[in-house]
Symmetry: C2
Subunit: 132 residues, 2 copies
DNA sequence: ATCTATTTACGAAAGGTTTCGTAGTTAAGA
DNA sequence: TCTTAACTACGAAACCTTTCGTAAATAGAT
């Protein structure tokens, strides 16, 4: 059982998560880059995105480097660990720590296609086999 | 594919969720009842709980009835639908709508015991069979 | 060197959540 | 009836998140 260490344990807000998703996908990006991506989904002012990213930098969610007149930002927290943390919070607060309840709720409402379901079954088989 | 209707579409806050969990479990309760339960987990003042429940009443998350000098409260939103909604939010915002990604993340970190895993497998088989 | 567009920094407003103090109401008991 | 404990109502403080306007700095173009 591996111990997962993260740079910090700050929970990102919803807006911060949006930005993190973009940075995880795109890697190093300027505020303009991120704001452009964001505006494909919803309308946000440039300085709003800037401010949020500055706050995230202060919180050490993001790192940054000057490059010419602007900054280039990068996510400092790992996608996998962050998603795991967020899921864990729901697991604890909503499903009292029961992973199976959570999974069944997730799969019970036609949320998963046939293809996804067989993927999951395969995943479960592998999981059982590797746990010697 | 059934349409799930809920009295409202308000997303409960974290504190509200704590109270909902207690009411779902205990059924009709007074503020005192809820506050006592809450204080088994963490320290909260009586008027804090009262105020939160009053706000929840205004938001129509709770119903209430006078009984003697106090009120008796009850959850107006359904446990199942609410949990589903909260999970759905995570599904969309964190896992881009992919239920299988969510499930695999949930199961990949030793969060589920062997017993739970076989429960889930059974659940998946049933799911596949009933979808004719 | 000056202008201009880009970018940053800062502050603050607006809205929401959580917390609790205080004052008033209620009803039960002395 | 009067007192008191339990309960409610209300307001406001403290804090957080999201948003954007404004001013200053930067650097490239003329």
């Amino acid at each position: 059982m591996r111990k997962t260490m993260q740079n910090n344990n700050i929970k990102p807000t919803d807006s911060e998560l949006e930005i993190l998703q973009i940075l995880w996908k795109s890697g190093y990006s300027t505020v303009k880059d991120v704001n452009d991506e964001l505006n494909k989904l919803r309308s946000v002012g440039y300085t709003t995105t800037l401010k949020t990213m500055q706050i995230m930098f202060e919180k050490k969610l993001l790192g940054r480097e000057r490059s010419g007149r602007s900054h280039t930002y990068v996510a400092l927290i790992k996608e996998n660990e962050t998603k795991n943390m967020l899921l864990d919070k729901v697991l604890q607060t909503v499903f009292a720590g029961s992973a199976s309840k959570l999974v069944m709720q997730a799969l019970g409402q036609n949320k998963a296609s046939k293809k996804e379901i067989s993927e999951i079954k395969k995943f479960l088989n592998d999981l059982e086999n590797e746990e010697v």
